[in-house]
Symmetry: D2
Subunit: 283 residues, 4 copies
C-alpha cells in the first residue's frame, strides 16, 4: 500500500475565499498531480475550513523542501495549520494491551495480511500472558508490570519516545496520566467498549444489560486527559435482545470493538482524521 | 389483521420446572390449538420465566370464563402474573402531539394502510396546528392548550379514562405528572430522540453534533415518572458524518424516530412486550 | 433549501494533471467562493475523473454567461463533459404511480415538510385511486388509463415535455418504451423492490421468501431501456427471519423502498449523481 | 459452553393441534426441565411445524434410552422427524480451505477463545501454504493437492468418515462432487462471497464493482449438489461507495464473510438450524 512519490497534505484554517484555488495552483506549479482532494467547511458563520489533498510528484523527496517553503507562504497568508505526510512511509505503532486479546490480534492479523497500513513496532503490556501470541507475528513484546505509576510510565516513555508515530490502547486497562500523554508527543487512540457517551466509565456491558438497551456498541477515540471524552473517530453498534446475558453482550461487543478500532487506526494511518475541538473530521 | 377466536396469553413467574407443560396441557384440554409459543428465562439462579402463547379456540368468547378459571388455578400454583388478550380486538390508542408531526403522521398513515394493528381514537395536542392533518384521517383532534397543569391533565383524563388502552407520546413536548400516569391506568409509550442512555434530556441532536458522534438514534420506551428512564422497547441508529449540521441530524433522526416508534407500538399492539424491572422482554 | 447566487458544477473527463487547479483558478478569477469540492478518479490506468463543485458568486445570474464562456474554454482543453446547475431553483418533478401509495406519499410528505428539495408539479397514474390523496397536497393528479400504449405515452409526453426536469416511477407498474424515454429528454428514477441484481423482474418478495434469504432490500436506479439494469443510485436492506410471510416481507420492504427512493431523489435534486457506464458516482 | 445433562430436541412435522402439549408433557413426565422452547409454523394451510426444545435432566445419559423410546411413540403419532442432540458434546468439525485464510483463521481463533462451540479436528487444503498457521493452533493440517478428482475425494473421505459431524468450506476453491457429499453423510456449510442470489458463481466482487452496487455481502449456506443454491443459514452486507476498487470490495467483503460464517457455524453447533425445502428455520 506504500505509494512512492506520493504525499498527503492536511490543512485547517478559518473559512475564506480562494483556499482551494491557492493550494491547487501551488501544487500544479510544482508539477504535482492531485490524486484526490476532499474538503469540509463547518456551516456556521466564521466557520472552519479543512482539506486533505493527496498528490503525486515525481522525485518528491528531493523536491520537498522547495514545496514546503511555498506551502509555508500560503499558510501564512491564510492563517493555516498544515502538515505534509509521506505516503510511502508507514506509521510506526506501539500497541498497549492487558489481558483481552481480541483487539490486539485483529490489528496484528490485519497488518500481517496487508490490510492495515502500519508497522507494529512493539506491544507493551502490564501482563505477561500475550507474549507468545505477539512474538509469533515477529513483533517484540515488552512486559512492564503495573506498580509504581511514575516508574511504569518512565519505562514506557523510554521505549516509545522517538520510536513511534502512534500509540493504540487495545483494551489496555491502566489509566495514562496527563503527564505521560504530554511527554509522549504522539497521538493515542483508545477503544471504549460502549457507544459513547452512553455508559461512560467501567463495566459498560453489565450496565447495558441492566438498562435493557437493544443495541450495544464501541467507540474509537483519541485519548485525552479526560479518558472517555476525547474526539471520536469511529463508532458502530450491533443489535441485541433480552435473551442475551451480560457475558454474551461482552462477546458480541468484542466483534464490534475490533472492527471499529481497525477502521479508526486505518483512517489515522491514511491521514484522514483531523481533530476539530471535541469532534473529528474524516476526509 | 384481527384474528377471530384467537387469544394471546402472557405469563411471568419465578423460573421452575413444568410451566410449559402445564400451560400447554391446559390449553390442549380446553380444545385450543397453540399457534405460537415463545418463552424466555433469565439465566441467573432464581431467575424469572416469561411466556407468550398465541392460541386458537373455536367459540372463544363463550368458552373464555371456563378457560380463565383453570388458568387462575395454574397461576396460583406457579405464582404467576398473567393476562389474556383477545386478538380479535384492536387496542384503542390516543396519540399526544405538539408541533412536530412526523411521528404522528407515520402512526396515522400506517394505521390507515392496515400496517399497524391499532384504532387511533383521538389525538390530543397542546397546539392547534395539526388539527386539519389529523381530521383528514377521520380521527378526532382535541386541542388542550398548555396552561394550568392540573386543569390540563384533568381535561385529558376526562377524555381518556375508560376510552383508551394505550397512550402514545409522539414527540409531545409537555411533561406528564406522576399523578396523571397513575390516574390514567393505561400504558404510555414515549419516543425519545436519542439512543438512550446517551443524551438524556433536552436537545439531543445539538449535543450529538457537539460531541461528534458518528451515529444518531432514537428510543421508544414506556413512560414512567422518571421520563427518560422507562423500560426500553426498541431503539435504532443511523450513520452520520462530520458534514451534517445539527439541523440535518435532526432531519435524519426524524426518520429513525418514526420507524422506531412504529415498531414499538406494533409490538405492544401484538402483546409482545413484557416489562421486567427497568428492561423489557420482546416475545 | 434554495440557495441564492449558488451553483453546482459537474464535470467528467479523462483523468489528467491540472484539472482541479484549472477549475479552482477559473472560479477564483470570476470572484466565486468554493463552498464544497468533491472529486473522484477511477483507479485504472487511463481512468476517468469526476468533480462536483459548489460555489457562491454574488450576482450569479448576470455573471453566468461570462463564466460559462470561460468554462467552455477549459472544457475544450481537457475534453470535459460539464453541466452547471442553479442551486436557487428546485427541479420540477413528475411522479408516476399505480396503486401502491407508500413511495408516492413519502415523496409528497417530505416535499411538504421541506425535507426534499424538489417541486412536485404533477402526479400521473394509470389508476384513479390516489387522486384525492395527491390533491390534498395541492398537487395536480392526472389519470391516464392503460390501454393503447402509444396513445397513453403520447398523452403523458404532452404533459411532461418542457414541464419537468425529472420523472420518478414510484412503484409504477407499467413498462415505459424506449421511444418514450428517448422522447422525454429528462432523467427517470425507478424504485425496484429488491436488492438488485438479486430478484430481477416480477414478484421479488415472493421469490425472496421462496429462496429463504435473510435480508430483503430495495434499489433506486435510473431507468433505461433494460428496466432493472440501469445505473444504481442507492440501495438498502433490512433483516428478516423465517417467521415472516411473503406478505410481511412486502410490508417490511415497503419501508426500505420509501427511504431508498427518497434518498436517491434528494441526491439527484442536489446534483450529486454522475452516471459512469452502468454505475454511478455520488459526490 | 458444554452443558452437562442437557439435550436439544429438534422436531419437524405437519402442523396439527396438540404437539407442544404432547412434547412438553412427555418431558415433564420424564423429569426433564424445559430451559427453552421455540417453535415455528409456516402460515400456509396444511403448513409445517418446527420446534427446538432445550431441556435439563439429571443423569441424562443413563435415562436417554427410555426417553427416546417414548419420543419415538409421539413421533409416530404425529408423523414427526426428530433428532436429539447431547449439549455436553461439541461437534467435531473439519475445515476445508485453499489459499484465502481469513475465514479459517476466524474459526480457529474463535474456537480457541471459547466463542465457538466446536472442536476443529482437522484442516484439509489443496495448497500447503497454511500448514504452519493451522498447526500453531494445535490442529492437524492435511495437504491433499488437487489432481485426479476421484482420488482426491477418496483420500478426503478416508479422513472424514466417522470422524466429523460437520464440514466447513472456508473459501475452499474446489467443487465437491455429488458423490462426495452423499458419501460424506455429514452436513457441509459453505461461505459464498456475495449476497446470494446476487452474483451467483465466480468473481462476485469484480461483478459487484462492474454493476455498481451500493452494498456488498456474504452468504453462509448448506452445500448441496447445486453449489450456490443450498439452504441459506445467514447473510449480511456492508455499505460501499464508488470510491472503492474491486480489490477494496474484496477486502471489505472478507470482514463480512468471516462474521457471517462464524455465526452460521455457531448456530449449527447449537442445533438451531432446521432445513425446510430450499430455506432454513433458525430457532
Amino acid at each position: 500500500m506504500a505509494q512512492p512519490d506520493t504525499a498527503r497534505l492536511l490543512i485547517a484554517c478559518d473559512d475564506q475565499p480562494g483556499i482551494v484555488a491557492a493550494v491547487a495552483g501551488l501544487l500544479a506549479a510544482h508539477g504535482a498531480n492531485i490524486i484526490s482532494l476532499d474538503q469540509h467547511s463547518t456551516d456556521a458563520e466564521g466557520g472552519r475550513f479543512f482539506q486533505r489533498t493527496v498528490f503525486h510528484r515525481e522525485g518528491l523527496a528531493a523536491h520537498r523542501p522547495a514545496l514546503e517553503a511555498d506551502l509555508a507562504g500560503i499558510a501564512e497568508r491564510f492563517g493555516m495549520q498544515w502538515s505534509l505526510h509521506d505516503a510511502s512511509k508507514r506509521k510506526r505503532v506501539a500497541i498497549f494491551v492487558s489481558k483481552y486479546d481480541h483487539c490486539l490480534m485483529e490489528l496484528l492479523w490485519r497488518t500481517q495480511r496487508g490490510q492495515l497500513d502500519i508497522d507494529v513496532t512493539m506491544v507493551i503490556s502490564n501482563h505477561p500472558d500475550l507474549a507468545e501470541a505477539v512474538r509469533s507475528f515477529g513483533v517484540p513484546f515488552v512486559h512492564i508490570p503495573a506498580g509504581d505509576k511514575a516508574e511504569m510510565e518512565r519505562r514506557q516513555l523510554e521505549l516509545l519516545q522517538g520510536n513511534v508515530d502512534l500509540v493504540v490502547l487495545a483494551r489496555y486497562m491502566q489509566i495514562l496520566t496527563d503527564a505521560f500523554i504530554e511527554a509522549l508527543d504522539a497521538p493515542v487512540i483508545n477503544i471504549h467498549h460502549s457507544f459513547l457517551p452512553a455508559f461512560i466509565g467501567a463495566n459498560p456491558y453489565a450496565r447495558a444489560k441492566e438498562r435493557g438497551v437493544k443495541l450495544i456498541g464501541a467507540t474509537a477515540h483519541y485519548a485525552t486527559a479526560d479518558l472517555d471524552e476525547g474526539p471520536i473517530i469511529e463508532q458502530d453498534v450491533t443489535r441485541v435482545t433480552h435473551s442475551e446475558s451480560a457475558a454474551e453482550l461482552q462477546s458480541r461487543g468484542a466483534d464490534v470493538e475490533r472492527l471499529v478500532l481497525a477502521r479508526a487506526v486505518q483512517w489515522h494511518a491514511e491521514d484522514r482524521v483531523i481533530v476539530h475541538g471535541r469532534s473529528t473530521v474524516i476526509l
